[in-house]
């Protein structure tokens, strides 16, 4: 009797373990890296929202390789050491077939080394520093803005378009801030626009000294490459010292000017501020963009604001498409499939560059907009084809 009981328990256990394995094999895991804590934890929230919509979308359309797609999110806190170890954990512990995401350039620069070493395809979503793709690593792609793309295609052209004569560049001391600041200097010098640069600390709260230097230069426009809460401090303090609204501030990243507490934190000083963004309800380039907005409103009960939720949505779709076309999870086959991508996402038609030698390699640059806050309404200023109004300033 006892023997048969033991046998029965053993058989039940085997069935349980077998079925658990069967269930586990029914999903295919993709890793996402990004900050869920730290100064840019808001990006983690946007990523989480975009991932939810993307996994629902992919799984409703057949999943990947006939399985459900599952996303494992690893918090990097915007720190290179945590980013590198988090990336490695996704590959070695969770056995993900591809890694996506990131929004801090310093963290992404650490992650691409791990991707290259472990030979795992990595699609960067929102880390803009040029060296991420300029290193020309086989397994590293970027389906999002690059510093040179944003400066040369959007910011510099907008500054020229508006007829600004003097510009001041404020760069935070990070890979993103210093990199994009240098590119702006170069582009403005080439256009003959007088400019100066000041470097500020990433975690700095008090900007009065920098603002005094800027005010002495009397610029028409201030190109502020300061991310996170620092941008709110900067805008509020620029208003206090009477630098704005005479000079126009451009938030060179975008999302902090769209966060829920922006107006509470900066007050009226936020009016006429400009920002870079890839999302606006009146400029939806594809049907998927409209579908994303509607699904977002349905799921979260509010309109999408931080465009990074839509960026990660696109990147998840790009990954799923590549896996399905490759027909396998082999890393080399995935790279081949990614290189041949021709997919319409919310921000347009994706095609990665394949010419080696610069940051264009494995890069797809989505179109970016310049938007101005006018009485708490977002008015698209640039490009002219998508403009919903014109620049206001005093």
């Amino acid at each position: 009797m006892k023997k048969s009981m033991v046998c029965m328990v053993f058989v039940v256990l085997l069935i349980f373990i077998g079925s658990a394995g069967f269930v586990a094999a029914e999903t295919l895991k993709i890793g996402v890296v990004g900050p869920r804590t730290g100064t840019a934890a808001a990006t983690g929230k946007s990523f989480t929202e975009g991932i939810k919509l993307a996994t629902d979308y992919v799984n409703a359309h057949g999943g990947v390789l006939g399985k459900k797609m599952e996303v494992v999110f690893e918090d990097t806190a915007g720190s290179p050491d945590k980013a590198a170890s988090g990336f490695e954990r996704l590959v070695t512990r969770d056995n993900v077939v591809m890694v996506l995401g990131e929004s801090h350039s310093s963290a992404a620069l650490a992650e691409i080394e791990v991707a290259n070493r472990l030979k795992i395809p990595f699609i960067v979503a929102e880390a803009w520093a040029d060296p991420i793709t300029a290193k020309n690593y086989k397994f590293v792609f970027r389906a999002g803005p690059s510093n040179s793309g944003v400066v040369n295609e959007t910011i510099a052209k907008w500054v020229i378009h508006e007829g600004f004569k003097k510009a001041y560049i404020v760069a935070e001391n990070t890979d993103w801030g210093l990199g994009i600041g240098k590119l702006c200097e170069k582009a403005l010098n080439a256009a003959g626009i007088a400019n100066k640069t000041v470097v500020t600390e990433r975690k700095g709260q008090d900007h009065y000294t920098e603002l005094a230097k800027i005010k002495a230069f009397n610029p028409d426009v201030i190109l502020a490459f300061v991310y996170g809460t620092g941008l709110h401090y900067f805008v509020a303090q620029a208003g206090e010292v009477h630098l704005t609204p005479k000079a126009i501030i451009l938030d060179g990243a975008g999302p902090p000017s769209l966060w829920p507490d922006f107006w509470n934190n900066v007050g009226d000083y936020g009016n006429l501020e400009c920002l870079v963004s890839s999302m606006h309800k009146d400029v939806e380039l594809t049907k998927l963009a409209t579908l994303f907005r509607k699904n977002y409103e349905k799921e979260f009960g509010k309109a999408p604001t931080d465009y990074k939720s839509r960026s990660i949505f696109d990147v998840v779709l790009i990954a799923a498409d590549a896996i399905n076309r490759a027909g396998t999870t082999d890393a080399n086959a995935l790279v081949d499939a990614l290189e041949k991508t021709s997919l319409t996402v919310t921000r347009g038609q994706v095609a990665f560059g394949t010419t080696k030698g610069g940051p264009e390699y494995h890069q797809w640059m989505p179109p970016m907009l310049v938007i101005q806050w006018q009485d708490k309404n977002q008015i698209v200023l640039y490009p002219p084809a998508g403009a919903t109004g014109s620049l206001k300033h005093k």
């Binding site: 808001a42 008090d206 009065y208 005094a212 709110h232 509470n264």
Partner: protein, 285 residues
Amino acid sequence: MFLLALTNGLVIGIIYALAALGVSLVVGIMNVVNFAHGEFYILAGYFSYHFANTLGMNYLAAMMLSVGLVLIFGMIIEVLLIRKTYGDDLYSLILTFILSIVLQNTYLLVFGPYPNKPPNWVKGATNVFGQFYYGNQRLAACGAGLVVIAIVYLMLKKTWFGRMLRATSQDREVAELNGVNTTALNMLSFGLGCALAAAAGVILSPIFPVTPTGGMAVALTAFVVVVLGGMGSFWGCVVGGLIIGLVENFGAAFISSGYRHVFGFIILIFVLLVRPAGLFGNREI
């Protein structure tokens, strides 16, 4: 630029001194380095924001209530966590470090990742010496900071409670022999240290909105000020805060604003080389 650096250095210095006073008090009396000091600052900022913005309370009442709640919370933490570590400085160090991480993640979960700002007490800016505009809220915060520092000074020097604190700081055993209940005093001191962090939080959060991890920078600056001024010294805090505020602002104005906080550390290293116990280095408060 010189006048602006001087004015801003003094204002920021007063604010640094206020933030550091709580750390100094707890170190001086209890020999406990409270790594979670910045998180109490942030908690008061969040309380103040929600009482004023969400519940619509008067900002002054919101500030007082926030400081009171953090004082009680600090005393509870002392009873539940810190009291068990007396006699081993390392345990309290590790414990408050863990508490700091737990609180940061709790804030993220409860309050979300976005920066929160209680309402300004005053709006606009004042033209100082006809040279530059300076935010009225900063001037008001500086004034409030000076008032709190003066109250702490008077409490330490002129009250019976202050005499007990100073006696315990100088010699715990002799204080006990003279009838001071040092267990209760520890609880009150820790609560008071947290309340001072909270006072700094409610005064500064209208200028620098609070975020879940914003306390780390506050605590780091407070530790630099305390070490520079001398552990447990009241005047060390005040002078240390002013020195760091001025050095950072002059460094940012005339050398580089990209290394503002580095200048403070350089001065700290220099002072510690010359005076290892800090500028006012003794255990008396």
